[in-house]
């Protein structure tokens, strides 16, 4: 089982050279839970995730792990607690599944130690969890999109961190594979207690899989809480500017947003 951690951000402002994208966001990541960041395109979800996972430095504000500033924690030590799967990682030409997953062990190895038994076990375990053990010797180029994404998540799992950040782990996948990936991540959370924080673009899958939601609008955190409490038609209108009706998902019991449009409004044809 993983440990409990207090990961929090206080009034962080972050962005890029010419413009600040994240505006004074404060949050505490619920430990051992699945949190999902939602928001419209370009509202700053990825930037927030990047800032939390130390890819971008905040201009002001603090991010702390168990009371320590993450910028003060040695990078390898931090990488043994906080893992990250960015949105578009690079696949080196001709790399095998096992090689790629194995690269997740980097923070556990020292300059001289090389590969230990623990490393091999962690890689085997990660591949087993993601159901890719049989693919170990395949070349990544031969895999389908869904398989590829499982390989990347296995790489992050091999890192064996208590906290895992993922940026849109289901983008570009068919709905079947989206559900498969989210189920596997839920397994990971329920069985190992891994704290998961991810960006998802599908509001209904977010509502179904999240224990906790962070909703962003134009770089500000406007609502947070459990999906049942916070996902309402007002919120959807607020963050996506979309009129919708929110019903109860008959399968999972979570909120389910059904968009309205000019042609389909409560069974009537629009003028």
């Amino acid at each position: 089982m993983t440990q409990t951690h207090i990961f929090q951000a206080e009034e962080i402002v972050a962005g890029y050279d010419n413009k600040m994208v994240i505006q004074e966001v404060s949050l505490v990541i619920p430990s051992n839970k699945i949190s999902v960041i939602i928001g419209a395109n370009a509202c700053g979800k990825s930037t927030l995730l990047k800032t939390l996972s130390r890819l971008t430095k905040p201009v002001s504000g603090n991010i702390t792990l168990d009371g320590k500033l993450i910028s003060k924690i040695p990078s390898k030590q931090l990488a043994r607690v906080v893992g990250l799967l960015p949105q578009s990682p690079i696949v080196p030409e001709g790399i095998s599944v096992a090689d790629l997953v194995g690269r997740g062990r980097f923070p556990h190895q020292s300059l001289l130690s090389g590969w230990t038994k623990k490393d091999y076990e962690a890689v085997a375990e990660a591949m087993r969890i993601m159901n890719i053990t049989e693919l170990a010797n395949h070349n990544i180029d031969e895999l389908s999109g869904g398989q590829r994404q499982r390989v990347w998540i296995a790489m992050a799992l091999a890192q064996q961190t208590d906290i895992l950040f993922l940026d849109e782990p289901t983008t570009f996948l068919d709905i079947t594979y989206q559900v498969e990936i989210l189920d596997l991540l839920t397994d990971l959370n329920r069985k190992h207690g891994t704290t998961i924080v991810m960006v998802l673009h599908d509001i209904n899958l977010s509502a179904r899989y999240a224990d906790y939601i962070f909703a962003l609008r134009q770089g500000k955190l406007i609502v947070e809480g459990e999906p049942l409490k916070v996902i309402t038609s007002t919120l959807v209108k607020d963050i996506f500017g979309l009129d919708c009706m929110v019903i109860k998902d008959p399968v999972s019991g979570s909120p389910f947003a059904i968009p309205k449009g000019r042609y389909h409004v409560n069974n009537e044809k629009a003028p």
Binding site: V82, I90, I95, G104, F106, M155
Partner: protein, 325 residues
């Protein structure tokens, strides 16, 4: 397995390098020259003279191979190589300036000038190549490297031509040649080679992480800026010192790493050390070829590697046309 084959090839290279040349000698004489100090035939002496040359070409090839592997990893660009990026020419320019203006003439002094030249050119080319929105793409880097290389070469010419004494000292060096190496050169060169190769081997796991992108690498605890700096320093050390002693030799870094990548895949923990072996083999074979083709004189090894390397570069660039960083 690959290791065994490489070592066998390496052994063969050494033998041919000792035996072949404008004057051919037999295996018997090679053994005499190596192991029987008393043997005093003309052939045995020829062989002894070729020992330093062979050792130097092996070391120099290893340096260029590893330097190429490092540059490719740092730029995440499969066609990076000391000569393609113009780093060798930068080193040459500094050496020529040293010869022309500072009366410098020993390998010990060449080395520092060459290193400074290599470092400055590397910075310059990567700077120019990363201008613009798409960052440092392979094509932009090659163009920046070629343009810089051409500009620096013409500077080299401009300095050399009016000074015949520089010409004499410089001529052998300019195309890249291992023929004149002596044991002094080798002992000057070896520390740089060792440091460079150690840097490369120890940074290989972190460079493996960097290959997955800067974001993934940071997530894995790699400090990408520091890593790039250290690995680039290693690369400059290796190719700068090799260039100082042998002159600019092109394409060895490119060829040796790609052969190894084809056989071993992309894991740099293997590709880096094996590029040292393949680089040593390629340079030594090229040197032997140069002696055979050029007989009764010899063709400088830099010319031979350029002949082999240029077509391979064209093939690679075509294959990788749109792959960017």
């Amino acid at each position: 397995m690959v290791l065994v084959i490489c070592f066998v090839l390496l052994g063969l290279c050494m033998l041919t390098s000792l035996a072949f040349g404008s004057r051919m000698v037999g295996l018997h004489d090679v053994i005499d020259g190596l192991f029987h100090p008393a043997a005093d035939s003309y052939e045995a002496n020829v062989v002894r003279k070729r020992i330093s040359r062979t050792v130097f070409s092996l070391l120099c090839g290893a340096a260029l191979g590893v330097s190429g592997a490092l540059m490719q990893a740092v730029t995440r660009n499969p066609i990076a190589d000391p000569s393609i990026l113009g780093v060798n020419t930068g080193a040459s320019l500094f050496v020529v300036c040293g010869i022309a203006f500072l009366n410098i003439s020993t390998a010990n002094q060449y080395i520092w000038l060459a290193l400074a030249g290599a470092a400055i050119t590397a910075l310059f080319v990567f700077g120019i190549g990363s201008l613009g929105r798409s960052g440092a793409t392979p094509i932009k880097l090659v163009l920046a490297g070629a343009a810089t290389s051409a500009a620096l070469s013409s500077l080299v010419m401009a300095i050399m031509i009016p000074r015949s004494y520089v010409m004499d000292q410089f001529r052998f060096w300019q195309v890249g040649s291992v023929g004149s190496a002596n044991w002094d050169n080798i002992s000057t060169f070896t520390p740089f080679l060792l440091i460079g190769i150690l840097v490369a081997i120890f940074s290989a796991p972190a460079l493996n992480a960097l290959a997955l992108g800067d974001d993934v690498a940071t997530g894995l605890g790699v400090r990408t800026g520091t890593l790039r700096l250290i690995a680039a320093l290693g690369a400059v050390l290796l190719c700068g010192s090799a260039t100082a002693l042998a002159g600019p030799i092109g394409f060895v870094g490119l060829l040796s790493t790609h052969v190894m990548r084809l056989i071993l895949g992309p894991d740099l923990r293997f590709v880096i050390p094996m590029s040292a072996l393949s680089g040593a083999i390629i340079l030594t074979v090229s040197d032997v070829l140069g002696r055979l083709i050029g007989s009764p004189g010899e063709l400088e090894v830099g010319v031979v590697t350029a002949f082999i390397g240029a077509p391979i570069l064209i093939l690679l660039t075509m294959k990788l046309k749109v792959r960017s960083l």
